[in-house]
């Protein structure tokens, strides 16, 4: 029981990170109907920017951890969202109105470009960061040899994700930008007919998706402390799986899918074998898709009379 609780806490932290990345996939799919395969690499770029930002901050003498973390987050979000914007501008916008496969191929190309760019610029070896946030709290101690603990970094991850999700949901449901985004998602041509600058709205979607991925990237860096130029691939595939599992195009679905993938992976590693954790996550995806082809919270693709 204690073991299960402990694994649930670990799974939630990991799932939050997947969820934040998954939102980027699901938003872009919703609005222009393409899978942005470079999104995982945007996440990876986010981890590197966070790390570099931290090193620079230390070099110029900002060592107070809360301030450093806050500045790190700000810089990572700002610069990574520029990457997200640039990817759309360079690789996808010129292909709008082209056949459906073209932007997908372009996205895979962009993914390779980003990986190789980081490999060349930062080297292929892993980069490490010593744990910045330490300390754990004991949640449950029944006196036997196992205690349930939650670490400060796990709390930070879950709280940050919660805050971002709340803010993001508010933007989508209650601001005019969010309304424009939903309008573009439901009928791009009609949105333009109502005076919405659709190109600008699409750009902003990429920007926001990348900003969320950069937060996930920074959390990943703080949680695991080890990054390299290749982590975007696996994280991207997992987050994409999460988005599909939750129902691609659905924002709550992306978050739910992220949490589920995080939990499944963690339970599997804890009770069966670490080697097969990816197999477990993807198998669940297959099973869910057989019985619910549009994912858990997805809606069937009919409508329009």
């Amino acid at each position: 029981m204690e073991y299960f609780l402990q694994q649930s806490i670990n799974g939630l932290a990991l799932g939050s990170i997947y969820g934040l990345v998954a939102i980027g996939y699901t938003m872009v799919y919703g609005i222009i109907g393409m899978i942005n395969f470079a999104h995982g690499d945007i996440f990876m770029v986010g981890t590197f920017i966070a790390l570099i930002a931290f090193l620079i901050l230390v070099a110029i003498g900002i060592t107070a951890i809360p301030l450093a973390l806050f500045l790190m987050l700000l810089i990572a979000m700002l610069l990574t969202s520029l990457y997200g914007w640039a990817v759309e501008r360079i690789a996808y916008r010129p292909l709008r109105g082209s056949f459906r496969l073209a932007p997908l191929i372009s996205a895979i190309g962009m993914s390779i470009v980003l990986q190789n760019y980081v490999q060349l610029a930062q080297g292929a070896r892993v980069k490490t960061l010593q744990p910045l946030i330490t300390g754990t709290h004991t949640v449950l101690d029944l006196g036997n040899r196992f205690v349930v603990q939650v670490s400060n970094i796990q709390i930070l991850i879950v709280l940050t994700t919660l805050a971002l999700m709340t803010g993001f949901t508010w933007i989508i449901s209650s601001t005019s930008l969010g309304r424009d985004m939903r309008a573009c998602e439901q009928d791009l041509k009609m949105a333009a007919l109502l005076g919405v600058d659709t190109n600008r709205t699409i750009s902003l979607t990429f920007l926001i998706g990348a900003a969320l991925a950069s937060v996930a990237g920074m959390m990943y860096l703080l949680y695991y402390g080890v990054i390299d130029f290749h982590i975007g691939f696996v994280a991207g595939v997992k987050a994409f799986t999460a988005a599909v599992l939750g129902g691609i195009g659905s924002l709550p679905g992306a978050m739910l899918g992220g949490l589920l993938i995080g939990l499944i992976e963690t339970y599997w590693s804890a009770y069966f074998s670490v080697q097969y954790k990816d197999v477990a996550a993807f198998s669940i995806l297959i099973v869910v898709l057989i019985f619910m082809p549009t994912g858990i919270l997805g809606r069937p693709e009919v409508e329009k009379v």
């Binding site: 939903r182 007919l193 109502l194 329009k304 009379v305």
Partner: protein, 240 residues
């Protein structure tokens, strides 16, 4: 005579290499209802969309209020106070009626949202009852009213209506046409109407154009066109 509000001169538009419009000349004067009638595939809806810049005209010019809008992107054209209720209505299905109307006001900078809303609700009272319902759950007639109401929210100077009677029951059609007449007479709103329901449209309109295969074949006042034998045999007789 005053300046035309909208002046279309020699406009051609293409889908790929297929010409959908072949040198169209149309003028709309302020305060008029002008209608375009014609068979399926004649290019009526394409003309509507070309005015809105999607597709853009490859030849010719479109001038609105003295300004050449031929090469402007769609959203900038719509911000010049042209509004369209498009073919197929294109209601946002997963937004509420209220949100759909809010989207209609997206270009109404500085306008008074509440008074526009009240105006639309008084024109189509059913929309107020349905305001928190999702667009996709409305009936066809309600969706058409919402599409027109949404277009009105931006306080347009030119309203483009594409087939507002399509697929609706005769009673609803009458209701919608009387709303169109009201808008024109009371608010002096200029309306450019595309219709297959030629009889209704010509009775309502001050002037009309008949479109055949991407060209204007005939033009005249609504009454003149109603009496032309070629119009009668092609578009009016047989069922209507």
């Amino acid at each position: 005579m005053s300046e035309p509000l909208l002046s279309i001169k020699g406009v051609s538009a293409f889908y790929g290499s297929i010409a959908a419009l072949k040198g169209i000349d149309v003028e709309v004067m302020p305060g008029e209802i002008v209608t375009i009638i014609g068979a399926n595939g004649a290019g009526k809806s394409t003309l509507m969309m070309t005015i809105c810049g999607n597709p853009q005209a490859r030849e010719g010019s479109i001038v609105f209020e003295g300004r050449d809008i031929t090469q402007l992107p769609t959203h900038e054209i719509m911000r010049m106070k042209i509004a369209q209720s498009p073919e197929g209505r294109r209601i946002f299905p997963r937004m509420t009626v209220y949100e759909n109307l809010q989207m209609g006001a997206a270009t109404a900078e500085g306008g008074d949202f509440r008074s526009e809303l009240a105006r639309v609700y008084s024109l189509f009272p059913i929309l107020e009852k349905r305001s928190s319902q999702r667009g996709g759950t409305l009936s066809g007639g309600e969706q058409q009213m919402l599409a027109i109401g949404r277009a009105l929210m931006s306080r347009p100077r030119l309203l483009l209506l594409d087939e507002p009677s399509l697929g609706l029951a005769p009673l609803i059609v009458r209701q919608i046409f009387s709303a169109i007449r009201d808008l024109n007479q009371r608010e002096k709103l200029t309306i450019f109407l595309v219709e297959q329901n030629a009889f209704h449209a010509l009775k309502l309109a001050h002037r009309g154009y008949v479109m055949v295969n991407g060209r204007i074949a005939l033009q005249g006042t609504g009454r003149e066109l109603l009496e032309r034998p070629e119009v009668r045999s092609a578009y009016l007789e047989g069922g209507r």
